[in-house]
Amino acid sequence: MVRLVINGSAQNVAVDEDMPLLWVLRDTLGLTGTKYGCGLSQCGACTVHVNGRAVRACQTFAADLDGATITTIEGLAGPVADAVRTAWIDLNVVQCGYCQSGQIMQATALLARTPRPTDKEIDAAMSGILCRCGTYGRIRAAIHAAATTLGG
């Protein structure tokens, strides 16, 4: 059993020792907004916040997380999340959308720490999240737009 606070609610979750957080979220808890894309920390589709930091859930082991606070795309809220989602919708960022949970988790983590990121900082933060539909250009624009909205 590990104790986790997931999207604001405290839960005791029974997990296999070696089970990545990704599958605890998707299979055990039914939180399917967090996606599987590679299982190897190569694509970022599984990105969630653990204690406020963006991490790859496919290489994070639930058993190591006792007491941690976890936010997934389903529970992501607040002014930064609102600004990011609004920018994403206004700029028609989304195509298939499969990578976008991870993109948004990473982008909100970036903006929380770096309210006015430069292009270089955006490159560095976002390079771990793949998009096969080719939305990178719009994501960049949407991060800048969200930063402007937030008055950073």
Binding site: G37, I73, V94, L130, C133, T135
Partner: protein, 749 residues
């Protein structure tokens, strides 16, 4: 496969052989035939029966309050307009596109419109370019549905007006509409559509063909660049349900162990260790390998690793990429099957022997690698099977499911969910992932396990699973006349047929030529008096499939690179040279000039930098790219990509831009990074994104997309953005460095 073959051979029967008692062809039928001429994946068809919309309308309108005048539109009293989308939303924006057409003619407010995927029903929801088949591909969605969706919307508006006219006791012509409201001609009162649904539902729908459509001058939604995508809100909140996201109580997860080489089959299986693992429910052989069914992905994955399996590899592919390239090169030394022959190439090449330019271009096998690995959910019961998946061709998928599940086609229920990308991967002639899940569901049913099951492919399964864009080699020879104009062009194509061995073979391979192998060459637009095209179609046994832009993804690379080489041989500017030779192709010329202008073609660049251009027609659309690159000791950097597209009437300019940006990124990824190779024993080398490289965020240069204004019927944009990227970049590298790169992925030195 028998059902498939029956269906397709029935479909292939020429219209002329229909019994004479058939009704005269309707407009719908005519569209099908007309579509046949241009569409890549076309099946001429034997007709189904009468227009089917009435029955569904009646069923949906059963509650007396929902207004459902046809199979595509539903208006409920809460003022929601639901548009039923007959194509798979896999990122290309088809929800938004088709909803725009309906909302336009209906005068609906964009905000009140929502979309849902249509059920699998080929009579109601067929692709009008594909005959009796419901499916998405070939960049046909918006084009085939353009009039159909507008009519569906116009019909709804007409009936709502009539309902209002009856209610108000005024003439129907006096009732105006705007933004989802009916306007009283005398009082000016505005009534939302939702309040008129019960009345409208009682009216008899007219035939779709009789409904007048708007004059394009009056469009208010079509052509608007600021419409927000309909699928975005649920996708940014993580609420969208993709095939892999289906969750039921008691849902099991299956992984499949497949043979390590293509063509292998199961010889012996020792599942004892796997079966003893916690959470494992069943392990059994299916036609494609061994299914491991467990409570969740993680248990299934661990159990799969514990399987002890021997494979029968007597028919397996044991050849490596190196040997294949040798074979392809050897083949290119011998004549292939001719697919185009203008003038006399051999005489012309002999005459101009001193000016002959020769070059060979290659492109590798390529995985689609959609972000969402393949997945599907199924439950087999005594009465049939229910499947949920991002199904791209529901008509073929349903038949494949029936076959694999051991049920009749009418016992299959198939629900289409969002797909996390496809790029062709989810459109398979044999059902692929849904056939697999159906076989697994059947296995569970036969073992008395009454639970739905989700099949998940891992990324490794995906990259190693075949169905690649075929590798291709193009050998070109060209010559100039005394005036340095092109005299001869000989293109020999060596590439594996995509259609051979599929149910499409008998319909779509003409005189031994698979059109998907030579598209873009067979219709080479340049004015060259002597032109010969011939084809070899070796079959190494590696499964291949259409990959975004299909044959154009390699033919345009060869053609547009070689045009450049000839231009340089002639001492001409590559842009001017193309313009001269495309004088009879105004739409190609249009995109070429637009892209060149926007890219400031004639402004010189610093040393070490260069510009390259490429232009190509595919899927009814016309695209040009200008690439700007820097070549330095550390390699190639693509600095900027400027694109012009002519896709007819731009229905959703921002979706068009997004698709061309996406195609450009996809094409650049293939140009610079992507490839699948086989080791010398025939095993796929790559397995995941660490070695099957795709373009990452920092490597994507700014992309500009410019749309040519047009009133022509709309054509596709999902694929046409891909073909010109690689040649534009290769041509730019040549301009910057003098180095001509002829193999993808492009590598200096």
């Amino acid at each position: 496969m028998t059902h498939l073959f029956e269906r397709l051979s029935a479909a292939a029967r020429p219209l002329a052989s229909r019994p004479t008692t058939s009704p005269a062809p309707t407009r719908r039928d005519v569209l099908r035939i007309v579509g046949g001429a241009g569409a890549g994946l076309t099946i001429a068809l034997a007709l189904p029966g009468a227009a089917p919309t009435a029955a569904l309308a009646a069923e949906e309108a059963d509650d007396g309050k929902t207004f459902a005048p046809n199979a595509f539109v539903r208006v409920t009293p809460d003022n929601t307009v639901t548009v039923v989308i007959k194509h798979l939303e896999m990122g290309q924006g088809v929800y938004t596109g088709l909803a725009t057409l309906v909302a336009e003619e209906m005068d609906a407010a964009w905000e009140q419109v929502r979309c849902e995927h249509a059920p699998a029903d080929a009579d109601l929801y067929n692709n009008l370019f594909w005959g009796a088949v419901q499916g998405t591909g070939g960049s046909t969605s918006l084009a085939n549905a353009f009039l159909q969706m507008r009519r569906a919307g116009a019909m709804a508006r007409g009936l709502l007006r009539r309902a209002a006219a009856d209610a108000w006791g005024v003439g129907v012509d006096a009732v105006d509409t705007a933004a989802g409201q009916l306007i009283h001609p005398e009082t000016g009162e505005r009534v939302p559509y939702g309040q008129m649904t019960a009345r409208a539902a009682r009216l008899r729908p007219p035939s779709p063909e009789s409904v007048p459509l708007k004059d394009p001058e009056d469009f208010t939604l079509i052509g608007r660049a600021d419409l927000r995508r309909k699928d975005a809100p649920e996708k940014v909140e993580g609420r969208a349900i993709f095939g892999s996201d289906v969750a039921f109580n008691g849902l099991l997860t299956a992984l499949v162990l497949r043979p390590p080489r293509f063509g292998g089959t199961l010889k012996t299986l020792d599942a004892s260790a796997a079966q003893a693992m916690r959470g494992v429910r069943a392990v059994f052989a299916i036609p494609r390998g061994v299914a491991v069914v467990a409570d969740g992905f993680w248990q299934a994955r661990k159990a799969r690793m514990a399987l002890k399996v021997e494979w029968d590899e007597s028919d397996a592919v044991r050849v490596g990429s190196k040997a294949l390239w040798d074979e392809y090169r050897d083949l290119a030394d011998t004549p292939g099957q001719t697919f185009r022959d203008d003038g006399d190439v051999h005489a012309a090449l002999a005459k101009a022997a001193s000016s002959v330019v020769e070059a060979t271009y290659t492109v590798p096998y390529m995985a689609h690698a959609p972000m969402e690995p393949l997945s599907a959910v199924a439950l087999r019961t005594a009465s049939g099977i229910e499947v949920r998946a991002g199904s791209q061709v529901p008509t073929l998928d349903a038949l494949a499911i029936a076959e694999a599940a051991g049920v009749r086609p009418d016992q299959v229920t198939l629900h289409t969910l969002y797909a996390g990308g496809s790029f062709g991967r989810r459109a398979t002639p044999d059902g692929d992932v849904v056939a697999e899940v159906a076989a697994i569901a059947r296995g569970l049913f036969e073992r008395g396990i009454a639970a739905p099951v989700k099949l998940v492919w891992t990324r490794e399964d995906d990259i190693r699973g075949g169905r690649y864009r075929p590798m291709a080699l193009h050998r070109l020879r060209g010559a100039l006349d005394e005036a340095r104009r092109p005299l001869a062009w000989h293109q020999r194509v060596v590439t594996q047929s995509i259609l051979k061995g599929t149910p499409f073979e008998s319909v779509l391979i003409k005189d031994g030529i698979d059109g998907t192998s030579v598209e873009g060459v067979i219709d080479l637009p340049y004015a060259i008096p002597n032109m010969l095209g011939d084809l070899h179609g070796p079959d190494p046994g590696v499964p291949v499939l259409w990959w975004r832009a299909v044959g154009h993804s390699h033919t345009a690379f060869a053609v547009e690179s070689f045009v450049d080489e000839l231009a340089h041989a002639a001492g001409a500017d590559p842009l001017v040279w193309r313009m001269d030779l495309l004088a009879d192709h105004p739409r190609l010329l249009g995109v070429l000039m637009l892209a060149a202008n926007k890219a400031n073609w004639s402004t010189p660049l610093d040393a070490g930098r260069g510009r390259g251009v490429a232009v190509h027609a595919s899927f009814g659309s016309f695209v040009a790219h200008v690439a700007e690159v820097t070549v330095s000791a550390s390699g190639v950097t693509v600095d900027r990509l400027v694109c012009a597209v002519d896709c007819g009437l731009p229905v959703n300019p921002d979706v068009i831009r997004a698709q061309i940006e996406g195609g450009t990124c996809f094409g650049l990824s293939a140009a610079l990074r992507g490839r699948v190779t086989l080791d010398d024993t025939g095993k796929v080398v790559q397995s995941n994104f660490h070695d099957f490289e795709v373009l990452r965020f920092p490597s994507l240069p700014p992309i500009e997309v410019h749309i040519v204004p047009s009133a022509e019927p709309p054509s596709g944009v999902g694929e046409p953005g891909v073909p010109t990227v690689a040649p534009a970049v290769a041509n730019a590298i040549f301009a910057a460095s003098g180095k001509r790169l002829r193999d993808l992925p492009l590598k200096l030195g």
